[in-house]
């Protein structure tokens, strides 16, 4: 009785183990291949849910089904125009053929390291065969210019290839090289990009000198503008004043002319009028030219004193 009990227990445990080793659950995010003595058998399992295998002799190898990350190392690379930059890249990839992937790479870690080789290499190639500007810019859009005179400074040089195309190129080349690995790279992008430290300081210097140029330009523009306004002021002032003088003189001249003709028409009527005028003017002048300091010697012969003499 007792031994039978134990025996049945052992059988139950064995059966249970067998059942568990022949069943495996695939998560929604997973795919798997079944291997027999290390050799893959059957189609890869990609449907999530319960799956079966022969216990003990068959083993399951799980792979992720999702888009996986690949983060590139920060590489120092010279561009075609000999500028040293470091480039940090990333990619998304997917195991599209788990069987192939298993045969070639065995697991995800070696997959990552193979991607390192391929993508880093392609990145270097692509960077080295393009100018920095092509790697930075992606379109030939015209920049918005804040100040008119900064147009030459705010101008962006045109590119022939562009960042998008370089990324696409690297992606295409890498995919060609990974096609037999059961892997597909879906997207490749430059994450970070910057000058290496030594170059960076020189770039700072250039930026500073550029800014100084702008500042100088602002300043001299201000001075120029101020001078222009001052010039305008002087011109307007001269114009206003001289025009006023001209008009005033013209008015005066006209009045003088009018007055002269009025006088002439009165004094120049005939000989008698002229005689009277000159007599009146002499009298007036006479009257104005004597004062208390004047000494006169008058003869009794004169019109005024002739009667004085007669009285004597």
């Amino acid at each position: 009785m007792k031994t039978r009990n134990i025996l049945s227990l052992i059988v139950a445990v064995l059966l249970l183990t067998l059942a568990f080793t022949s069943i495996f659950v695939l998560d929604e995010t997973q795919q798997a291949i079944v291997t027999q003595f290390g050799k893959p058998v059957g189609e890869p399992r990609t449907q999530p849910g319960l799956h079966f295998k022969i216990p003990i002799i068959q083993k399951v190898q799980f792979f992720d089904k999702r888009y996986l990350e690949w983060d590139g190392d920060s590489n120092q690379v010279p561009t075609k125009d000999k500028k040293f930059i470091f480039v940090d890249t990333y990619a998304r990839w997917q195991i599209t053929n788990p069987l192939q992937f298993f045969i070639r790479l065995r697991d995800e870690r070696s997959g990552q390291s193979r991607l390192d080789d391929i993508l880093d290499g392609e990145t270097r190639n692509a960077i080295a065969s393009h100018d920095l500007l092509d790697i930075v810019r992606s379109t030939n859009r015209d920049p918005e210019v804040a100040e008119d005179f900064m147009e030459d400074l705010d101008n962006l040089d045109d590119i022939t290839v562009g960042r998008d195309k370089i990324e696409a190129l690297i992606l295409k080349r890498a995919n060609q090289r990974t096609s037999d690995l059961g892997v597909q790279i879906l997207d490749f992008r430059f994450k970070r990009m910057n000058y290496v430290d030594e170059v960076r300081n020189r770039v700072y210097d250039r930026m500073i000198s550029e800014r100084n140029r702008i500042a100088d330009q602002f300043r001299s523009e201000g001075q120029g503008e101020a001078r222009k306004i001052q010039g305008n002021k002087e011109r307007d002032l001269a114009k206003i004043q001289s025009e006023a003088t001209r008009e005033a003189e013209m008015i005066r001249g006209k009045a003088d002319a009018q007055a002269t003709s009025i006088y002439a028409s009165a004094y120049n009527r005939n000989a008698q009028a002229r005689e009277l005028y000159s007599f009146l003017r002499s009298m007036e002048t006479l009257e104005k030219s004597f004062d208390e300091k004047t000494n006169v010697v008058l003869s009794t012969d004169s019109e005024l004193y002739k009667y004085l003499k007669k009285a004597n």
Partner: protein
């Protein structure tokens, strides 16, 4: 020594007696724990049946099949999530503190004119498709960070440093938003970008003073122009007024001149008419009248006889003058 032994035996006895009940209780407990799930108000529950996606359940009390036959993952779909670039919020609150120390690599980027700019930004997003979020991309958060950095650099790479720093800020954020959403759709990561907000955008630290100098120079320019304008405005209207005055004065002169001439002419004419009637007498009268007015004003008068001119009359001019 026997006492504890006895007690242990007693426990063993109890255990064996109630073994079934205890087992049943345990199973019941596990059943409850593994099948009753609460989904929070901002969450959504994704239920998987033996690894297979089965259904998505709404907030509230939910039941799933026990013992791991069904599993549930909760995704906060209603919550707005955010990622920070170039800085980290250390402590949010009234006095939010930021740490900026070591994120230079994250924020320093090349502009289209091959200058450098320090751009800090925030991406606000929401998980709208929890299925995609869970099952399409591994580590969707990290993927979003990478995408975000790449997208920002791409946008900034097509703009001048001036645009990024000043006029184009809003435009950068908008373009970035569009680009990032496009990438999210491409990746099918179930994320919707709510907003990209540009925080501090600065020139790199060593270059900052020269950027400030540009601002200063700009102000200086405005000041110079304004000063000149105000000088102009101070002088010119006054000059206009003065010019008017000059002209008016000339008019006044003209008026006076013509009127005086007319008056004098009229006076002369009247006089002339009278004079013509008796010229000699009038002339003499006028002469004598004039003399009458003049002579009293004259200081020294010497009257000499016409015949006494052979005797030179002594006239002490100096003395007369001294008087």
């Amino acid at each position: 020594m026997a006492e504890p032994n006895y007690r242990l035996q007693y426990y063993m006895f109890l255990l064996s007696k109630h073994f079934r009940k205890i087992l049943l209780g345990l199973i019941l407990l596990i059943l409850i724990f593994t099948s009753v799930k609460t989904v929070g108000p901002e969450e959504e529950g994704v239920v998987m049946y033996v690894g297979h996606y089965d259904r998505t359940v709404q907030p509230g009390l939910n039941f799933i099949l026990p013992f791991g036959i069904e599993e549930m993952k909760k995704i906060p779909v209603q919550r707005q999530l955010k990622q920070e670039f170039g800085f980290r919020t250390v402590e949010a609150g009234r006095n939010t503190q930021y740490s900026k120390a070591d994120f230079n690599d994250e924020s320093l980027m090349l502009t289209g004119d091959l200058n450098l700019a320090n751009v800090e930004w925030v991406v606000q997003y929401r998980i709208v498709n929890s299925y995609n979020y869970l099952f399409k991309v591994r580590d969707a958060e990290k993927a979003l960070r990478d995408m975000s950095e790449a997208a920002m650099r791409k946008v900034v790479g097509d703009r001048t440093v001036n645009e990024v720093l000043t006029v184009g800020r809003q435009e950068v954020a908008t373009s970035m938003e569009v680009l990032l959403q496009r990438l999210c759709d491409e990746y099918e990561n179930g994320i919707r970008i709510d907003q990209v907000v540009l925080q501090d955008v600065n020139p790199p630290e060593p270059v900052k003073p020269s950027f400030n100098a540009v601002n200063q120079a700009q102000q200086e320019r405005e000041t110079l122009i304004n000063q000149a304008e105000s000088e102009y405005n101070r002088i010119i209207p006054r000059a206009r007024g003065e010019a008017d005055e000059t002209i008016q004065l000339a008019e006044a002169y003209a008026l006076t001149r013509v009127n005086v001439a007319t008056g004098e002419a009229a006076r002369f004419n009247s006089l002339f008419e009278a004079y013509v009637k008796a010229p000699e007498v009038t002339k003499k009268r006028l002469y004598l009248e004039t003399m009458e007015r003049i002579l009293p004003k004259i200081g020294g008068k010497v009257i000499v006889d016409e015949k006494g001119n052979n005797v030179l009359p002594l006239l002490n001019l100096n003395q007369t003058e001294k008087k």
